[in-house]
């Protein structure tokens, strides 16, 4: 197997650890997926010092939102640029803490 190819088990393990890049690739690639506009949670969430407006995380409030259906997780993320370097802050929330997920056009 070429070195840059990962086995399905490795990919699965990587996604379960909630690694930022894996989560981003899963949730934020918009070419083939409907775009999430907002997610309603059971309680407000704070990520990197910023709290959701009430219990709703909206893209229009600057949240990057990912939905990982196979693992039953949603991801809320935002980036902060410090001295030219982007740092990703994220929270991975289980579906049990999600009231509803809203997509563009729905």
């Amino acid at each position: 197997m070429p070195e840059d190819k990962k086995s399905a088990a490795e990919v699965h393990a990587e996604s379960l650890t909630g690694r930022a890049d894996a989560a981003l690739k899963r949730g934020y690639s918009t070419a083939a997926k409907p775009q999430v506009t907002h997610i309603v949670l059971t309680a407000p969430v704070t990520v990197g010092g910023k709290q959701t407006a009430g219990s709703t995380a909206r893209v229009t409030d600057g949240w990057m939102l990912g939905v990982d259906v196979p693992h039953g997780l949603v991801t809320l993320a935002r980036t902060v640029t410090v001295e030219g370097r982007e740092q990703l802050h994220e929270a991975v929330v289980p579906f049990s803490a999600v009231v509803s997920i809203h997509y563009a056009g729905s």
């Binding site: 934020y28 690639s29 918009t30 775009q35 010092g49 910023k50 893209v59 229009t60 409030d61 600057g62 990057m64 939102l65 935002r78 980036t79 902060v80 640029t81 410090v82 001295e83 030219g84 370097r85 982007e86 563009a104």
Partner: protein, 144 residues
């Protein structure tokens, strides 16, 4: 979408250079270049442009270190020259790109010094609506 547009500071240019080069690298316009040649040579071009052009960032109004995108541009002899405009994929289709473009050009015709496949494909009608002209020759001298 709520955002503010503000000038980039020198320490923000890392945010500008990386997506600019990466998006251009994925374009068919650079298909026949090796990675080494492209990143070395076009890195020079971008750094030289950044030394003279203006860069403005679109940011979260509540946290100006959370960037949504940028526009790099310069006022040419007759028209504004837009070197690169970028919006993070999570924040596309929300009007930020249009706001950055209109901020740079004030709605007037403009020249684009770079293009990629996305601009010349799915964004083609927007390109034509704004009356953009692709002219890479405005970059002459940017490789010094």
């Amino acid at each position: 979408m709520r955002h503010v547009i503000r000038p980039a500071l020198p320490e923000h240019l890392g945010f500008v250079v990386k997506p600019w080069l990466q998006e251009l690298r994925r374009s068919s316009t650079t298909r026949y270049l090796t990675d080494r040649v492209f990143f070395q040579e076009h890195g020079h071009v971008v750094n030289n442009l950044l030394a003279t052009c203006r860069v403005d960032l679109a940011c979260d109004p509540d946290d100006e270190s959370h960037f949504y995108g940028f526009v790099a541009y310069a006022q040419g002899e007759h028209e504004c020259v837009v070197h690169w405009l970028y919006v993070k994929s999570a924040f596309r289709q929300l009007g930020i790109g249009r706001a950055l473009y209109e901020h740079a050009t004030h709605g007037a015709r403009a020249i684009a010094s770079h293009v990629n496949d996305f601009v010349m494909g799915p964004l083609r009608s927007t390109w034509e609506k704004y009356g953009l002209t692709y002219n890479p020759y405005v970059l002459r001298g940017a490789h010094a």
